[in-house]
Symmetry: none
DNA sequence: GCGCCCTTCCCCCGAAAGGGGGAGACCCGC
DNA sequence: GCGGGTCTCCCCCTTTCGGGGGAAGGGCGC
C-alpha cells in the first residue's frame, strides 16, 4: 500500500486526485495540505511514502517545502505537479530534491504508474517536458555554443578530446578504452596538451578545464 | 510511416531490432549501418525520421555521429541505445543532440512507443535511469551557504585543507611546503580523502572539488 | 588511566604518470 | 614529389602517486 499525501491550494484539484487515487487498490491518500508549511507540519505526525506537491502555493511554495521534506532522512519522496510546462519553478524543485514532475492534466493511468515508480525509487518526468529537460541539460557544454579557439589555443581536435576526458577524472587507460586507442597514444596527446598549455600534470589539466569553461560543474548552469 | 535507421556494430542486435520493428504497422527500417561514419554516409542518400544509435562503435562512436547528424538542419532525430546504464558516454550523446536513450534490453512495446515519441518531437529516457539523470542534473547546489564542515561527509579539517590544495593543482611536495608538513604526511591525508570520498586519484579529487562547489571557477587563484 | 581519533612521519612496494626520442601512416598544400 | 602537420604506436627512462604497513605524540571523553 502506497501512502500518498496531496499538497495543493486548490481544493477542487485535491478532490479530483483523491478520487482517482482512491480507486486504486495499492494507493491510499493518507494526508492533505493546502500549502507548503502546512504540509511540513502534517508530515511530522503522519507516515507518508509519496507527496504530490504543487509548485505555486501561498505561505510556502512547493520548492521550499520539498527542500524541507527531503532534508529529513528517510522522509517521503516528492513528485511535483505543475499546471504549466517546465519552468524555473520546476527546475528549482528538482534541485531541491523532487523525484520528478508531472503536468496536472496527466491521465489518471499515468499518474498512478508515476506514483508507483517514485515509490520504487525511480524518477519520472512529464513526457512532454522530457525534451526540454534534456535540452536544458545539454546547455552545459563548452561556454555557450562552440569551442572558442582562443581558449584552447593551438590544441588539435584529438588533444581537446583527451583533455576533456582527463578533466572528467579518467585515467590514461580508461581514455584509451573509450577512444579505442593505445594507452601510449593517449600519453602522447596528453603530453602535448601539458606542453602547449604549460601545465604539469593531469590534476592541473582538470583545474584548467574547469577554469576555462571546457567543463562545467553540473550544479551550476 | 516512421522511417527508422539502425546503427550498431552488432549484426545480431540489428537483426533483432529489425524483426521487432518490422512487425509494426507504422514503422519501417529503411537503413542500417555498423558504425558512426557509415551511418553519416548513408544518411546523405536516405530519408530517415529516427536513428537508433549505439554508443560504442568502432571507427566513429555514437556520440560523434550524433553530433554530425544533428548538425544538419531538418535531419533525423537520434535515439541512443546503450547496453549498460547511464554513463559518461550517454551524457555526451545527450549533449551532442540525442533525443534520449534506452537500454538495449528495452521491451519491444516500449521501444516502439519510444520511437513514436521521438518522432513526435518528444524525448525519452530509460525509466531506470531517469532518477540518476535528475540527480546528475539537480544534485549539489553550490553550497550557497558557505562550506559547512559536514558537507564533505567525514573529512577532518586537515583533510579538507589538503583536498582544496589538491584541487588547485598543487603536487604533494608543494602542499607539504605550503602547510609546512612532510610530504609523507600530505600523502597520508590525501590517501584518507581518496578512501573516504571513494575517489581514485588527485585528478578525480579536483573534479569532486569543483562539482561539490568546494572550489569555484574564476575565483581560483 | 584507557581508548579513540587526529595528526605527524617513516618504511617499502607496484602502478601510473610524465618526458625523451623515434617511426610509420595519412592528408593537405606547395 | 616534398614538407608540414596530425594521428598513431613503440621504446626507454625517472618521478610521482597511491596503498600497505607501522609508530609516536596530543587531545578528548569516559
Amino acid at each position: 500500500m502506497i501512502r500518498v499525501m496531496l499538497v495543493d491550494d486548490q481544493e477542487l484539484l485535491r478532490t479530483g486526485f483523491r478520487m482517482v487515487l482512491g480507486a486504486q487498490p495499492d494507493v491510499e491518500v493518507v494526508a492533505e495540505a493546502a500549502d507548503g508549511r502546512a504540509a511540513v507540519e502534517v508530515l511530522r505526525g503522519v507516515e507518508v511514502d509519496v507527496v504530490l506537491m504543487d509548485v505555486r502555493m501561498p505561505v510556502m511554495d512547493g520548492v521550499e517545502a520539498t527542500r524541507l521534506i527531503r532534508a529529513v532522512e528517510g522522509g517521503p519522496r516528492v513528485l511535483i505537479l505543475t499546471t504549466f510546462d517546465l519552468d524555473e519553478y520546476v527546475f528549482a524543485a528538482l534541485k531541491a530534491g523532487a523525484s520528478g514532475f508531472l503536468l496536472k492534466d496527466v491521465p489518471p493511468v499515468d499518474l498512478v504508474s508515476a506514483i508507483r515508480s517514485v515509490h520504487g525509487g525511480d524518477a519520472v518526468v512529464a513526457p512532454s517536458a522530457t525534451r526540454r529537460l534534456l535540452e536544458r541539460f545539454a546547455v552545459h557544454l563548452p561556454a555557450s555554443g562552440g569551442v572558442e579557439p582562443g581558449a584552447v589555443s593551438g590544441l588539435t581536435a584529438r588533444e581537446r578530446e583527451v583533455l576533456v576526458l582527463v578533466a572528467r577524472g579518467l585515467s590514461n587507460a580508461e581514455i584509451a578504452g573509450r577512444l579505442e586507442l593505445a594507452e601510449a597514444t593517449v600519453k602522447t596527446h596528453l603530453g602535448r596538451v601539458l606542453a602547449k598549455l604549460g601545465l604539469r600534470d593531469r590534476a592541473q589539466v582538470v583545474v584548467f578545464a574547469y577554469e576555462a569553461g571546457l567543463v562545467v560543474p553540473h550544479s551550476a548552469g
